[in-house]
Amino acid sequence: MEKLIRFTLNGKKTEISVDPSLTLMWVLRDQFGLTGTKYGCGIGVCGACTILLDNDAVRSCTYRVDDVMDRNVVTIEGLSSNGELHPVQKAFMEKDALQCGYCTPGMIMNAAGLLIANPEPTRQQIIHAMEDNLCRCGAHIRIIEAIQQAGKEMKKMSQP
């Protein structure tokens, strides 16, 4: 009962023949080796597994692999281009917005999704979008600052 799933993964058209009911998070990690996407809870309440699906930040542990048929998936590994870090990644580094770093890919993907939907979020909007993305180490206030900085940076870049 395998099924051929075609989708775009980190900018490349790809296909895989798998049991369509498998969890997207595990398929990304195990079949594609994209281990930047982390497991934290498995039920959609921590955000460690966040990816972009058609530019929306979603929790890959709550998706089946066939949910991405003909859609566009970006994981943390696909966020940078040609070795150049995404502004959100850079801002996380510059603001030291991490400790153990385990929640970091999910935080960055969530933030990247937010900035696509809302390039100039207020502090309140950032908090709202990040609300239940969990960080046990307590890097929160720096994560908020990093997202503010990345937003500004991206705005500068988009202006000619």
């Binding site: 990690r29 153990c100 206030i141």
Partner: protein, 710 residues
Amino acid sequence: MKTQRSRFDLKRRDFFTLLGGGIVVYLSSGNPSELLALPLIQERDIPKDYNAFLTIYEDGTVICHVGKIEMGQGPITSLPQQVADELDVSIESIKMVMGDTETCSYDPGTWGSMTTRSYSNFLRAACAEARAVLIQLAGEHLKISPENLKVKNGMVFDASNPEKKVDYGWLTKGQRIERSMDEKPEVKDHTQFKYVGQSRLHADARIKVSGEAQYTADIPMPGRVYAKILRPPSHQVELLSVDYSETEKMEGVEVVRDGDLIAVLHELPDVAERALSTIKAEYTSDEKEVDDKTIFDYLLNAPAETEEREKAGDLGEGEEQADFIIESEFYDGYKAHAPIEPHTAMAKWEGEKVTIWASVQSPFLMAQDALARELGLELENVRVIAPFLGGGFGGKIYNPQVPEVAKIARLAKKPVLLAYTREEEFFMDYFRTAAVIQIRSGITKKGMITMWDYQHYFVESRGSDTIYNVPNKLTTGYSEKRGSPIHPFSTGAWRAPGNNTNTFARESHIDMMAAKVGVDPVEFRLRNLTDEKMIAVIEALKEKFGYSYMKGPSGRGIGIACGTDAGTWVAVMIEVKVDTETGEVQPIRAVVSQDMGMCVNPQGATLQVEGCVTMGMGYALSEDVEFKGGDVLTSNFDTYQLPLFSQVPEVIDTVILDRQDQPPQGGGEPAIICMGGAIANAIYDACGARVYQMPMTPERVLAGIKKASG
């Protein structure tokens, strides 16, 4: 049991074979037991030699092999600062290899804020010795007496003629050099540092933001399968019968069994999980009745070992001198460690030898040693490698996943990955203990403490001694009797063990006394303190916060707490808003002041403080483990409430007192101890409610408001 050879013999031999050339320096000095922060570790064959290994390659790269692990507290950033300064090399030339029992120096574990305050001293001494050896070698080569040589950035040169020079890389030239100094060189003092004391961003940030950093579950391994273990529904029960005949029929699924350890294997975790759910098992029933509501009465009545400490003066006399006697009783529920990365391990057997990658705070003592003992293996047949850890907080000192995965992989005859699910993580965790604290104290009208009778039930003693100057005092601890466990599940060290609960109780009670005599709680503390360091820390806190006194409850919602932990003096002032309709508490701003002695990386220390404040809000306001007997009802983050973005104060300011001339102290834990007390006192100042139980949930705050107005 087989006798184990001294680790040092083993090391000396194998280390060279493993690493080939380079200069290798080992150090054996100091008292190894200093490195053991946890009294609960029983006597075992701790090696007498503590070794720091350095290898310097021809291109000048310095590899520093340390048994510490990186779980977010930043040794991967702060240790190279110290190595670079002692060796006189550029920090960019240093690479860290950490947490590998085969290539790193022995270390009991990364805990107790010991990396900087204890381990660093060994490492710095080793580097100073390595530098002296290198200068000696350079002197022989250049035919110049070592006193006339200087070093900069790994280059040794003639002080009077800098053209005469040779670099470390050339000196070592890939050859193996084993030498030690008869006279041990001094480590540098703070005025000679170039890197120590300077802020540095995380050295591992680049690979962590890109997703490349590997945690245990991320290590690629061809042919690896996932294991899912059959868990009982509750602690305190035994397996009666099990039937996995249907499970074994599933395609590609394998079931292995070693006694009560029953695991399902499949290359896909989804399939392994499904297969696990088809096992039918019966267990005895759980006899324990206690739950998260009745636990406090239960603890007060449990059989206990009694220990009296801090005895001074006479409590009766202190009572006579007092104008007021204040009594209080505080409660704290069980807390989970809840690192976002659950306990994980992967095992690969090659003949008699097993290699384990595992998320462990203690690759040597609690993983390698423990496993060798449990399976009766020679130490050299167990290699443990701790990649990056996704948080630890004391929760990855014990590593049940390590023997589990080793046994399963041995039976399966293939590499096995065991990554606990979140539900397993909550079930297998050893919680921070629930506790009760009773305090009876006497004060004069002028606000001097005359008597202090402190009784702590089932919480560790760390932080239980009063920091105030009290003439008549006694601390009594009640703890589990050996051999008669009272908790329905395991309990253990949780970031600053004991100190969070003790500081919450002591600092709440201090505020109650200050309120009783109408004295500013900050002034009340200063009046009763003689400890200069604590006084200086509080003065700096006051100033940074811009604190001024208003009679409480002032409605402003400002609270203070102070204490000591891991050699560091710390005080926190926090401002909160309390919604008197809902009982919700919203922290607005926190200021932390600490004297941590010499600070290696101010940026890293600040991050630890912010992490402590944020994590501390969780235990203070929302985290609680619900259970019924041995059945842990809290099983995921939907019911165990970690702090969320909206709950974090907008500003966390950190003041680190300049003490660069003092020995370094701990930084990973101290600030967290004050969070319960500071928040409790801020709630009181906001609305007059005194909350005696953590977490201080909206219901408990509302009850406090009702009581205060009733």
